[in-house]
């Protein structure tokens, strides 16, 4: 069985390009060119140079000793939080901006939830001198004020999405509308492994650097490049896909994807897509999404803006349906507690998104021998308000 995309743009039953005709030329242009451009030697060289000198890669693989003692396993943290701009999102935006330049695009648009992808996009636009417009839900603009300020300082225009739940899904709608209205000179940098083919594949390729480095680092540190488990949080699922990518075909490595359970999966305030969702089409691909019986998309809830999305990428839907990946969830409370625990045991304040992956360690049982890699996808600076309010700091 293949866990990767086929020539028709599908992962098993999922994927495709469900887009209105207005977007067809843009998406088709990408589909025809993305692999050619990415595989080109000059692209690879420029991409890796920037990842090294600008982003600060390779990001460390850190054996968290005190956490390891607590959970009775070797817990490694893949430190994407140490990247420039503070999360894994920059891996993808560097890749896509180089691609956009090679397609001759002059204007960049993006959607953002927590603001991490918006900041990463505004950053690469500043770096390359391109115009940048970021769509962000009105609710998220309020709860992620520091990132909004960063985007503005970087020269991006931040446009509030005021429809629906005013969060990530609605920001994505607005970005797609912008692209429809600017079909020639604009490239849409989607921030996750969602959207019409080839986006899920393209973003996964750019994020696959996470597992590529992890394998090398594990080999150096343990003499074995196969961990027993890899864990990552899933909103749309880009850090998870990057963390899983080079392990997907190695069935000995267990893939654990942690969704945002919100106030509890059955509370009506949750973003646990695989538990609550059904197959359908959202934002251009067939996947699993939270929806009513009538096919209307349900508003998700999570304390973490980056996981507050009613769908998952089509490759995740495929990994879930085939049983290759284990899709689980933890609640808002469990995540915040896990964030505090990491801070006080290892001196690392994680993004609340990443804290979801850490929180699931509590629910696993180990024998003391396992090597476990957790993708620490981002740092918690942007979440200080939420942490302070929750813990009364």
């Amino acid at each position: 069985m293949s866990y990767f995309v086929n020539e028709k743009g599908y992962y098993g039953d999922f994927g495709g390009a469900y887009i209105p005709e207005m977007l067809y030329p843009n998406v088709e242009e990408l589909r025809q060119n993305y692999l050619k451009i990415i595989e080109d030697e000059s692209f690879q060289q420029e991409f890796h140079q920037l990842l090294k000198d600008y982003v600060g890669r390779p990001s460390p693989l850190y054996l968290a000793k005190r956490l390891s003692q607590k959970y009775k396993a070797n817990i490694f943290l893949k430190r994407e939080d140490l990247n420039h701009t503070g999360a894994h999102k920059i891996n993808n935006t560097i890749g896509q901006i180089l691609l956009a330049e090679r397609l001759g695009k002059k204007r960049i648009i993006a959607e953002t939830g927590a603001g991490q992808h918006g900041v990463a996009t505004a950053t690469v636009c500043a770096l390359r001198g391109l115009e940048c417009v970021v769509y962000m839900g009105e609710v998220d603009i309020k709860r992620q004020a520091p990132n909004v300020a960063r985007m503005k300082m970087l020269g991006a225009k931040v446009v509030p999405a005021t429809s629906g739940s005013k969060t990530l899904k609605d920001a994505t709608n607005e970005a797609m509308r912008d692209w429809i209205n600017n079909p020639v000179d604009t490239h849409y940098i989607i921030g996750s492994v969602v959207g019409p083919h080839p986006y899920p594949d393209m973003v996964a390729i750019f994020q696959s650097i996470i597992s590529e480095e992890t394998k090398k680092q594990l080999l150096e540190q343990t003499g074995n490049d196969q961990p027993d488990y890899v864990l990552a949080c899933v909103g749309g699922g880009s850090n998870a896909m990057g963390m899983f990518y080079h392990f997907v075909d190695d069935e000995k490595v267990k893939l654990v994807a942690v969704e945002a359970g919100g106030k509890g999966v059955d509370s009506g305030f949750s973003a646990a897509t695989t538990y609550l969702g059904k197959e359908g089409v959202l934002h251009g691909s067939r996947s699993i999404l939270m929806q009513t019986d009538d096919g209307q998309v349900v508003e998700p809830h999570s304390v973490s803006a980056g996981l507050d999305y009613p769908g998952i990428g089509p490759q995740h839907a495929h990994l879930f349906k085939t049983g290759r990946g284990q899709y689980v969830s933890v609640t808002d409370d469990e995540s915040l507690q896990a964030g505090l625990l990491l801070t006080q045991m290892e001196g690392i304040i994680p993004a609340i998104e990443s804290a979801h992956a850490l929180a699931y360690l509590e629910k696993m049982t180990f024998t003391g021998q396992e090597n476990v890699v957790v993708c620490l996808s981002g740092r918690g600076d942007k979440d200080m308000d939420t942490y302070m309010k929750y813990f009364g700091l």
Binding site: K8, G16, A17, Y18, I19, P20, E21, M22, Y24, P25, S163, G164, K169, N173, M176, R177, I180, N181, P183, V184, K278, G280, V281, L282, H283, G284, Q291, T292, D293, D294, G295, Q296, V297
Partner: protein, 255 residues
Amino acid sequence: MSRIKTLFQEKKNILSIYFTAGYPELNDTVRIAEALEKSGADLLEIGFPYSDPVADGPVIQASSKQSLDQGMDLKLLFEQLKSLREKVSIPVLLMGYVNPMLQFGVENFCNACVEVGVDGCIVPDLPMVEYEEFYQDIFESRGLSNIFLVTPQTSPERIRKIDGLSNGFIYLLSSSATTGQSLQVSENTESYFARIADLKLNNPLMIGFGINSKETFDKACQYANGGIIGSAFVKALEPADLEGSIQRFMLKFKS
């Protein structure tokens, strides 16, 4: 012969009107259809609302949201449309996004269309390849039309392919845009319309997006079989004087 084919054979300057089902009031759907036919509409597109209408501008987003908030869904819409053919004789299409249709089941959806006398669909985010592979037989065996969109960026080869798959008319977008913006007829637009006309397609053409006045409608009729009005009509609806507001709106185009 189908209602759509007959219409295009018998009439020129066809005026097609889009409105959102269940808006402004939940049970206005058939009432609006009836009033539109009385006021001179030739063809109707009834929108079934979706929570995430990415191809639509603010007016249709708002009408869709209000309709959903009032309780509209496909089951209720087909229930309302049971009385459609007692009151309306012009062709009627349903227009909406693919996900509600998938959840209803495409076969069930098509059967329900036939049952209530709907003549076809416009589903902008249903891709041509998927339609061809999975749904064309379902549509055609029931005599339903599926209407595809063409934009200024659509290549001639793709337009030919669309023409081959179409069996009603082709929906020509005046520009690549979300709904509800005013049509700016520039030299570029005119040359695009002329280019399409030169292709001598098998299917008739209807121009939509941005038609909101007699001038823009006449422009559409100059290059195609007629024009489609959506946002401008939805915006003109007055709940307190529904029939009156429809009549006044339609007068502008029939003079």
